[in-house]
Amino acid sequence: MTSLWARIEPLLARVQKPARYIGCEDGAVTPRHAPDRVSWLLAYPDTYEIGLPNQGLQILYEILNERDDAVAERTYAPWHDLEALMRRHGVPLFSVDTHLAAGDFDLLAFNLSAELVYTNVLNMVDLAGVPVRSAHREPHHPLVVLGGHCAFNPEPLADFVDLVVLGEGEEVIGEITEVVRDWKASGRTPGSREGVLRELSKVPGVYVPAMYEVEYDGPQLRAVTPRYSDVPATVHKRTVADLADWPYPKHPLAPLTEVVHDRLAVEVFRGCTRGCRFCQAGMITRPVRERPAEQVRTMIANGLRSTGQSEVSLTSLSTADYSGIEQVLQSVNSAECGTNGAVSVSLPSLRVDAFTVGLASQVSGGRRSGLTFAPEAGSWRLRSVINKLITEDDLYSAVESGFSQGWNRMKLYFLTGLPTEQDADTYGIVDLARNCVQIGRRHTNRASVTVSLGGFVPKPHTPFQWFGQNTTDELRRKVQLVRDAAERTRGVKVKWHDPKATAAEGIAARGDRRIGNVMERVWRDGGVFQEWSEFFRLSRWEEAMAAEGLSIEWYVNRHRDEDEVLPWDHLSAGLHKDFLWLDWQAALAEHGLEDCRWTPCYDCGVCTGYGIEHVVASPVPPAGGSQGTGQDLARGGEVPVQLLTRPRRDEPVGAEVSV
């Protein structure tokens, strides 16, 4: 393996933001390549600015480099300007750490977090000089791996990847490394690729698409079955039981150039049981596993010291639900972290309530840049359908609290195209926004509310996986309803996601293997960086679908039946299909479902199936955390069930809410 730097360097004088391609970040490892080490190239199929902050990639990078039998480097999608130069000068995809050719690594592993980057995966594999179709690869080619949330329906990419990892990677990457190490030691002889893939298919959490036969019955999928008896019929996701065992990243990467989230990120918990029915992340990452507050504090202190960052983000799917939140916030700016008050904290993914605003106020110092809430739907009825059980009072008290504490701008996230949505629900979005502005006007004349509107894409492994996505025209009409209504409303601005992009996301999200040819056509037609609006054209996708004789209506807009075989039925996030179906029926009946962290188990299948449990430091829900629990928790509340708790603190959380 030799460095390509001398050939890359002259190209960098001609591209935008060359710092994307040089590595050298604080926290980067000096990789120790050796013939007996398995080399991983961890790839993020989007630009460096978007990919560098990705926590999953940083965690695996560090864990692999700590092993004696592995080494890991990183790569990101080169921007158009550099890609054109690379292709012209015959420079292949390279690692940013030591600028080695991607094709020289043993594994090329992609982290997939959004559907519109799928074509970038094909492009990067091709740029690596590796055949894009797995069937055409030889033993000397890297194994192409997929992981991340989109791996829970990898079928549209099944023809292009060798293996897929379901769930959390901390443990399974070691097991994969060991299989590949033995294969490497055996000399990767001709014909041995099939053998190593078969071995890998036996590793729990690893799905090897080529080991499965797919049968169709007309347009319908009939079955996806293993070709061999030792290949599992269903692949189950991997979950680490206790985050306390995995205090990674220990040496977070500090980027040398501007990136999207240029701050220290510390993950406070994984999983979410609020049960929002549209939310794939909440469904596939169960159960809730909190990181001990003590460890969070250590990670913050060490991370700030090693990166010099001045901002820390406490990440999770709903950070206000973290039992140790107040404890951690109090310590961030104490001497313990050595920061003397100069560190600001950002809390992404906050609940909609006054307690949360209190937290935001506590951490933002004097800054009042903007508050963001996600009510997701415009009426209580529709919020019951999607199980986002925020009352109007929750929202208004949060907004009141925000404006009274000095914020002028609020941003409200909504989805449109949700199941059972009527125009009254859509108009309700503007009604809510208008009422929020009116509340704000009591405090400031500058009060404004921005409505951010996204088209809903039903996702696999959620109760809405059977729902037919709204057509592009219907989404456009609904966006227009909101825009028209907002135009007549002072102080309300609307931003929206392009409904055409939503359609393409729909094709990829619930596609089966036949969509693979569509992906290849879109890519060959130049359709990369599809999540960048300047490069997205729906017509490219429509033409590719038509050329393959596939119907967008059938794949995207059609409601599915209970007995339909879904393309991801052989892949399991632990959720029972009948639980999801019952929850879908409950949604249609407008019944909410409580958060099982603090209420009895309703047997979604994850904890019972995998022998794991919620790891929550406090058996008492956080103050103000009524959403989804169906309880009056204004004062902390009572919990009827016994949880597996970590006896790390004496007193339960549940501070008084002061508004």
């Binding site: 960098l12 004088a13 010099g308 960052q309 001045s310």
Partner: protein, 240 residues
């Protein structure tokens, strides 16, 4: 305590921008636990002031910044030099830290000229010498520029104080040694190379751009802002 710091920027890190370098310094100072003075106001910023911008892709042996530490901070300047260096990413070296003279002008105002060393790719030594002689013999040198959509033609001849061809140990490429004045909009390294070799693409021709000195004048005597005290990583330089 007000400090003036000199540092070098060499190697891969040169592909970061001047703005990136400012962030690298802010983070380095926090990493090594030196308390900065902060500006007052809504969003307090550490008091740091950077000198002339270095083009992205350019290297330098002579970069400077001014900074102010928090009050009542006892600091040994040698020790600060070492500490700052330990906090900066690979590719930077901190070569001197001194107390800033009271009342001295800002770096941006003070610098009258910079010396540069360019490695040339393509032209041989004779071609380079001929191009240099040709430019020096002219009384004006027009460069067409575009800035914020406005095209303009400027005479930049006066910005070239000195220009010669030289060579560097172990490097077969001819090098240019240029002293460029900082008056007006100045002259960017690639603009100079473009003017020397109008038939060639200046990006292809400019193999390496290295700022070697920044000059100020005191009592009509030209000198460096502060000398490099610690020895920078030896990088072969054609110009003394």
């Amino acid at each position: 305590m007000k400090l003036r710091v000199r540092y070098s920027k060499l190697g891969k890190i040169r592909f970061t921008s001047h703005g990136d370098t400012a962030r690298h310094w802010e983070r380095a100072v926090r990493k090594v636990g030196v308390s900065m003075a902060y500006s007052a106001g809504f969003t307090p910023r550490p008091k740091m002031s950077f000198g002339l911008g270095l083009p992205t892709g350019g290297e330098s042996l002579a970069e400077y910044l001014d900074m102010e530490l928090a009050e009542a901070q006892h600091a040994d300047l040698d020790e600060l030099c070492t500490r700052f260096a330990s906090g900066m990413p690979a590719g930077y070296e901190v070569t001197n830290v001194v107390l800033r003279e009271p009342g001295c002008p800002s770096l941006q105002e003070d610098v009258v000229a910079c010396s540069w060393d360019f490695a040339l790719v393509g032209p041989d030594r004779d071609e380079a010498a001929a191009a240099v002689a040709s430019v020096l013999s002219q009384s004006s040198l027009l460069v067409e520029r575009e800035r914020k959509g406005q095209r303009s033609v400027d005479d930049v001849r006066a910005a070239i104080e000195a220009l010669s061809v030289t060579s560097v140990a172990d490097d077969p490429r001819p090098h240019l040694c240029a002293v460029l004045a900082m008056n007006g909009r100045g002259l960017r390294p690639t603009e100079l190379v473009g003017a020397l070799f109008p038939a060639l693409d200046p990006i292809d021709v400019t193999g390496r751009v290295l700022r070697t000195h920044q000059w100020i004048e005191r009592d009509a005597v030209r000198r460096e802002i502060i000398p490099a005290r610690a020895v920078a990583t030896r990088t072969p330089v054609g110009c003394a």
